[in-house]
Symmetry: C2
Subunit: 189 residues, 2 copies
């Protein structure tokens, strides 16, 4: 099949979500996907190259999801709230943040897709907060950049804290709390 490559990428995306990078072996990818070793090393130089392709694909997917969601809201703060308060499950972990702590991710090549994703995400959130302040919907007690950093951190940290507590719901408490606190900064019109 000409689609074996795509199948390997999708399988890797799933396994990176479930187990991270270091704990995902080529053998596991092959077993899960049904492909053979020959195919794997024909399409990719090795595990690292496949993982980068998988992370890039995942980053694009999440970016697109974010853009779709933002497009539905004319109020920038409503867009942020809709993004943050999606129902998540900390026991599964973030589809992309899950990977960050793996020791191998200190390799700049492997880390690049993550850096790109979080950088772009920060930029988009900053824009939304900026817009809210320009439209006088939001106090300027914090800069748009600070709010974006805190939003991303609350979400990622909620995943960490929820996983440690073995309570998948806790990540939603973290994001909800952020939004509640953010709403105290809304300005009356």
């Amino acid at each position: 099949m000409a689609k074996t490559r795509e199948l390997l990428v999708e399988t890797m995306k799933q396994l990176l979500w479930e187990r991270g990078y270091d704990a995902t072996s080529p053998n596991l990818v092959l077993e899960r996907s049904g492909a053979g070793k020959g195919s794997f090393y024909h399409h990719f130089k090795g595990k690292k190259e496949l993982a980068i392709a998988a992370m890039d694909s995942r980053a694009d997917e999440l970016s697109e999801e974010f853009d779709c969601l933002v497009a539905k809201h004319s109020d920038p703060l409503a867009a942020v709230a809709a993004y943050m308060c999606q129902t998540r499950d900390a026991s599964k972990g973030c589809r992309i943040g899950r990977i960050v702590q793996d020791p191998s991710l200190e390799d700049p090549l492997l880390n690049a897709p993550l850096k790109r994703f979080f950088g772009e995400q920060h930029g988009k959130l900053t824009q939304l907060f900026q817009q809210a302040q320009t439209e006088s919907l939001l106090s300027d007690a914090l800069s748009p950049e600070q709010l974006a950093t805190l939003a991303i951190s609350a979400l990622q940290g909620g995943f960490v804290y929820g996983r440690a507590m073995q309570e998948g719901d806790v990540v939603n408490d973290a994001t909800d709390s952020f939004i509640t606190l953010l709403n105290t900064q809304r300005l009356a019109e």
Copy 2:
């Protein structure tokens, strides 16, 4: 030496911080500590048992650090601010949160020390926020529990985000932003 056991625990604590659980091999612990294989398996049943001892020790150490810091401040919000705004380095990761995402940590036995630590930490922060509200220093727009969850998440997420961006300072931006936002909830006396 009678202290070999303690030496192994300290070495494991350091390696758990640097590399997490899965990526730390017994061999590495032995090489780093100078101990031999015989000692290792004499004092511990295996890697898992050593890691649990190391995590328990680390959790106690961090708990004590927290208590010391709190004891220095009569104002509960000043205590929270002092805790959150310590200078940290995301490239090194949290001494205990660093470990949470490792696949092996799904084992309840391995996870227990983390669960205990984060549970206790949440309790202590909740108490501080509770006290601040009781003393009318803090608005009650959020519950003490919500604020504690957000504080922990902002810190842990700051580590994740900072590591992804390969900028160790970012974790401090996250905690500073939280404190700035929290300060908008202070009540005039």
